[in-house]
């Protein structure tokens, strides 16, 4: 585990990751990143940058340095535990054709 981005500033402004909820009932999705001096201005910049055409009803901004991400180098071992557990999927089980609604 490590932070996803090296700490970076542009003209003294930290980098923020922006997540937008496109409509009620859907979760926030990563839209991109931007620079802003603080969270308040990051939100306003994000509104102007990512929702010029009503693409969102809610925005989250997170300092890029606060995001903790799994490393791609450990991609295989890190996700291995789920690799051999096919019995977690419904398709693993045989159900006779004549049995309905299952």
């Amino acid at each position: 585990m490590s932070t996803s981005q090296p700490p970076k500033t542009s003209s003294g402004s930290p980098l923020w990751e922006v997540f937008v909820r496109s409509k009620r009932g859907l979760s926030h999705t990563h839209a991109g990143s931007l620079h802003a001096p603080d969270a308040h201005m990051a939100l306003r910049n994000a509104r102007d940058l990512f929702t010029r055409r009503q693409e969102g009803v809610s925005i989250w901004v997170v300092r890029a340095t606060d995001v903790v991400a799994s490393s791609p180098d450990e991609k295989d071992p890190f996700f291995d535990p789920a690799g051999d557990k096919v019995y977690r999927h419904p398709t693993f089980y045989d159900v006779p054709d004549e049995v309905q609604h299952i």
Binding site: S4, S13, L34, A36, P37, D38, D48, R52, R53
Partner: protein, 311 residues
């Protein structure tokens, strides 16, 4: 080829996407940073030719549309600088390189907008050519660049249509308006064809970019596609494409067009176009004169965080 490089190439060959923290060849990273930065610079320099007409747009409707379009170009620049930063580039450094003339932007923005019809022609031709170039980039092998391009392409469609609509009005207007429309087409046609870059036999890095999944079609293929799509639109407008050699080839189903003046292209690229110096000077002045805004924003943020600590 070592194991990491093999894994990278397999991902690209399998039409998979490379993401920021994946291993990638240094040449791939450098090529992408250069290309994305150049693309970002083009977006923000591209605000200038059309921005020139915001105060003189012929109606409030056209003015609101033009403001929205120029704002979109700024937004496109920001999406792209963001994508370049995922590769480890520093935004301030990229801007310094642009201001120092060490990184390029598209040659098309070094031509002047002398009449209102030029704004219309830019939307139709320049944004039309940009769409032709950018649609394949939505499937580029580098994830953040491809995702930025999806947003950009959605927005460019409005840019092209508003230009075509504005030009339709002029082409069906008074004789003077028709002349303006034809004059704009005369001046923007060839520079628009140059936007696809040098011909394939003079494009040294194309093969590598293709192997890396950054580029999907050659410059000449995309240029041909643009000509095939655009010539019938010009005919519909009742305007004449300024190319005496232009003809439709029944056999291939494509338009055959005349020789592009590559001397002009390379001269504009070297800095000798009609507006190169003006564009760069305006850009540098905007950056320097905007320094107080960045400082004020930083001071405001510092003051508020100090208050929060005190509270």
């Amino acid at each position: 080829m070592d194991a990491l490089e093999q894994q990278f190439q397999d991902t690209v060959d399998g039409d998979g996407r490379i993401e920021p923290r994946d291993w990638m060849p240094e040449g791939y990273r450098a090529t992408l940073i250069r290309q994305i930065a150049q693309h970002a610079h083009s977006e923000i320099i591209g605000m200038q030719p059309e921005g020139n007409w915001i105060t003189r747009a012929p109606s409030l409707r056209r003015k609101a549309i033009l403001v929205a379009k120029v704002q979109d170009e700024a937004g496109h620049g920001l999406y792209l600088y963001g994508a370049a930063e995922t590769l480890g580039a520093d935004r301030d450094e990229l801007l310094d390189l642009l201001h120092a003339g060490k990184q390029k932007y598209s040659t098309i923005f070094n031509y002047p907008t002398v009449s209102w019809a030029d704004v219309a022609a830019i939307g139709w031709l320049v944004d039309g050519a940009a769409i032709m170039n950018q649609v394949p980039l939505t499937r580029c092998s580098y994830g953040p660049y491809a995702r930025a391009m999806i947003r950009v392409c959605k927005e460019e469609s409005f840019h092209q249509r508003q230009g075509f609509e504005a030009l339709t009005v002029l082409a069906n207007g008074s004789p003077a308006q028709r002349r303006m429309a034809q004059d704009a087409l005369n001046r923007w046609w060839w520079p628009s064809l140059m936007m696809f870059g040098p011909s394939d036999d003079n494009s040294p890095n194309s093969a590598r970019s293709m192997a890396w999944g950054i580029k999907r079609f050659s410059n000449d293929e995309l240029r041909q596609r643009f000509v095939d799509a655009t010539v019938p639109q010009a005919e519909w407008l009742g305007l004449t494409v300024p190319d005496p050699d232009l003809r439709y080839d029944e056999e291939t189903g494509h338009y055959v067009f005349g020789e592009i003046d590559w001397t002009e292209f390379f001269e504009v690229m070297k800095g000798n176009g009609p507006c190169n110096r003006q564009r760069l000077a305006t850009r540098v002045a905007a950056h320097e004169e905007g320094a107080w805004v960045r400082e004020a924003a930083a001071a405001y943020a510092a003051k508020h965080s100090a208050r929060e600590v005190a509270a």
